[in-house]
Symmetry: C2
Amino acid sequence: MPSYIAPVKDIQYVLHDVLDVSSAQTAGYSDLEKEFTEAILETAGQLATDLLAPLNTIGDTEGCIFKDGKITTPKGFKDAFEQMKEGGWPGLDLPEQYGGQELPSLIGTAVGEIFSSANQAFTMYQGLTHGAASAILAHGSDEQKDKYLPKMTSCEWTGTMNLTESHCGTDLGLMRTKAVPQEDGSYKITGEKIFISAGDHDMSENVIHLVLAKIPGGPDGIKGVSLFIVPKILVKEDGSLGENNNVSVGSIEEKMGIHGNSTCVMVYEESEGYLLGEMHKGMRAMFTMMNEARLGVAMQGLAQAEAAYQNAVIYAKDRLQGRDVTGIKNPDGPADPLIVHPDIRRNLMDQKSFIEGARAFMLWGAQLLDQAHRDKDDAADGLISLLTPVLKGFLTDKGYEATVNAQQVYGGHGYIEEWGMSQFTRDARIAMIYEGANGVQALDLVGRKLAQDGGKHVMAFFEMVKTFCKDNDSEEMAEFITPLKSASKDLQSSAMFFMQNGMKNPNAALAGSYDFMHLFGYVCLGFMWAKMAKTSSKAALESDDPEFHNNKLITARYFMARQLPMTTTLLKRIESGADPVMSLSAEAF
Amino acid sequence: MPSYIAPVKDIQYVLHDVLDVSSAQTAGYSDLEKEFTEAILETAGQLATDLLAPLNTIGDTEGCIFKDGKITTPKGFKDAFEQMKEGGWPGLDLPEQYGGQELPSLIGTAVGEIFSSANQAFTMYQGLTHGAASAILAHGSDEQKDKYLPKMTSCEWTGTMNLTESHCGTDLGLMRTKAVPQEDGSYKITGEKIFISAGDHDMSENVIHLVLAKIPGGPDGIKGVSLFIVPKILVKEDGSLGENNNVSVGSIEEKMGIHGNSTCVMVYEESEGYLLGEMHKGMRAMFTMMNEARLGVAMQGLAQAEAAYQNAVIYAKDRLQGRDVTGIKNPDGPADPLIVHPDIRRNLMDQKSFIEGARAFMLWGAQLLDQAHRDKDDAADGLISLLTPVLKGFLTDKGYEATVNAQQVYGGHGYIEEWGMSQFTRDARIAMIYEGANGVQALDLVGRKLAQDGGKHVMAFFEMVKTFCKDNDSEEMAEFITPLKSASKDLQSSAMFFMQNGMKNPNAALAGSYDFMHLFGYVCLGFMWAKMAKTSSKAALESDDPEFHNNKLITARYFMARQLPMTTTLLKRIESGADPVMSLSAEAF
């Protein structure tokens, strides 16, 4: 069975050495002293190792059972959920007003990585609740907030998001679920939603569904969609639970992975719902949740990669197979450990250099989010809006690739379920799909975010990288700055290509959108690695743990030498434009 | 449920338009007229569509059941196997002397792709039998051949290969299974083997295991390994079945995919075995089987990609979602089909350009194999020996990637087992692992094959590409020749880098071995696409189906513009040498 130990030291490194968060001006950041964050991360890590990780395989094997209209979560999930609630983890970064601890998103993200690594399917129950609570927080009336948020902050009630119907996923304008206005101001919701993660289960007394639906007579398409709060059990004036709300589970989906999470078909039959936010502006409200969810999914990509990597490393050190071609390393054993072999190292270094770069990117993203929300910093808001599809698309694609690589280290054993490596890839696979499939992220990036506010956010990003390169233009840093400059130039050339060609023919830009998302991701990770190299170059001389920092430098060099060159190929793909992609007639596929 | 239709036209195109097989001098090739191969492929295609494909999902869902020492294959498998036997398919390219039809491997490979696409887990039963029969054919005594081959050619008895033990996979020198010589010349085999595909089942009356074991007192390590024929049920002098041979199933493995194939732990307890080939030279004999098996696995990579692609195309044409940004394409519908969207096309073109290039590569490889075996052509033998790890490693990695891409086209539905797209990826995943994990293929390529016979085979390959480029140096062909030249130059630079640096430090070559295997694969596919472009440029003017050939040209252009540039990045990775890969201490992972 796989194991997991939270990478507290690496997270602390990003928080304090790289981002220096306790010196940052953002509200609440001054509390984030090293000892404080370490205590939180260590406690979360302990729970992850002892409580959640052991339930991961069980969750996969048992799955959720749907019988007589009720869903039973895998053995042990319910008790574990109680412990998470008791520890106050679900409300970690939710407002104190509703019972949360109001810590920055930065901490929520760091802790989220740990819990997701240990058990993604389990952690999703509170992740979805968090997203639904955020949407109510942003768009709900005071009455709605008072009614739902305290119970959701504690996860006594969990939350869901209901968008997809069987005939429409990305194109939500086609949806059929109806919301008929009632005299008392409420609505009767009728329709069927699919792929509802944590849709129903036995771990909370109520489920608060956020449901997109159309009010008859409203505008066609996406402009006629509104968002509703639809509780599984109606909540009375005094906050106690009343009658069932005609919300039922149609079935649970048989999925490739995340078996421990109940992915439901939800059926609403004249269920009572309450408008959340403005009428016909449901997509806007839903996007509060979606954007948060996208960052959460990006984090899952990183988290599964980390968990898989840890186990691959253990196996590579334990498993004796073959001899080091440059000289025997384990003379007393029948063979050397796998880790002596260059190709095993190549594989592990690909994973490691991705994971540590991705973690820095992810936590920087969370910091931007805090600056946007807590400081009302428009520049940070614009930048994280730009980077959200990059984080989601790139981290989940590369995170999945990392789990596949980790599985490969095990040879045949990687294919056998007993070893748990298959589960990491099967669980990681969903992150490329949900909350907007990665192709949709690429479309969002190139079709919307790039030109947002006159392209000012992408220009700010380029400027930021340029300034960093200029400020660190030393001989010592050249091995990191030179490749970063080159990769960043490739990214700028791509953006330029889109500008020059996309106006005449949008397909010239859209054909390269996926490559651009990846190119952007590589540059972001290159930027993070250059920052870490700067930090560790200095710290290697000063710190009492020079080894740690030297290893960061080695990993940074690996990323620069063997990952970042991917930008060259991606630029070529992009610059080939629309023709190669669009020339074939649809019938000829 | 997914469907499958054999791509007969595309296979025929490679056989006749590109390779012009019926004009080739190889023994038996003159029979391969268009009408003849078409009849075979169409018949195989019908069986694949009607019989095997419908059993694919059942195989995945039911899996094999191990109960009371016996294995039951999924419902329908046994009847289907009978039909395959009746049709004579298992013996298609085995010698007439033993009841086969003695067609070239080329035809076996083409038909194998079709059956594997329809149902990989099922087709493996006959695939392994074929491999075991080939090993007996190459290394067995006349008596052994007469005893086993007729029944194996017909698949009345199936075969297996037993290499792996729980503590050793790649490093077979560590094996513990023992073969103790008996006075009558036979051996008593004792040991436990794992991951034995088609190890036992209910579809044949006997299973002929080929088992690697050590004869006590022999040389240490891999040099003391011998190969044995160990029947499940002993075969009497007259060919009838005798007593059980103490061969039992320890358990069946729970795997990520290929559930329809019984992957067994096999237990031998003083089971009677007969030496196959020379004592202590078991690896040589096993490699006859392994090399054939590696080509079979390469073909599986292609086959799963084709099956997944076909379904992705159907979905992309059917599913209405969003509108074409350049203008509505389906005004009468609520939305346009997915296939109008550039990123969906990018995804499908990546798959299509890989699959068609891979098929040409695969069939060219099979032709080389025929030349090597039937014409005793040493140059062809050397070349296919060099290309085998490239075919196996590259086609299975890229084939898997193609299935993941195909799954992605389905959005959330791709993650739901009901749609069948998950099975393609789960089944395709094993091909990267078995018959030598792809890292081992890369090691074989760079550590062994590249320098084989003084490097003469790789030089011959370079020369072949160079000559083709020179012979087709026309303005019309420039769009294909120029990128091929550039990619081929990258491959040569890589080989040069290995030569210059690998002598001093083998790790400088081994660190880049995986990248080299991929780089070689891209160049081979580029070569194939250039050949196809040549063929179709001419045919587009002459043929009565110019559309077909124009589509080949469009796909060739896609490959050149958007796939082949990958060689640039791979060369950079390779030229970064050993340091980035080897610098981190093992403890620091």
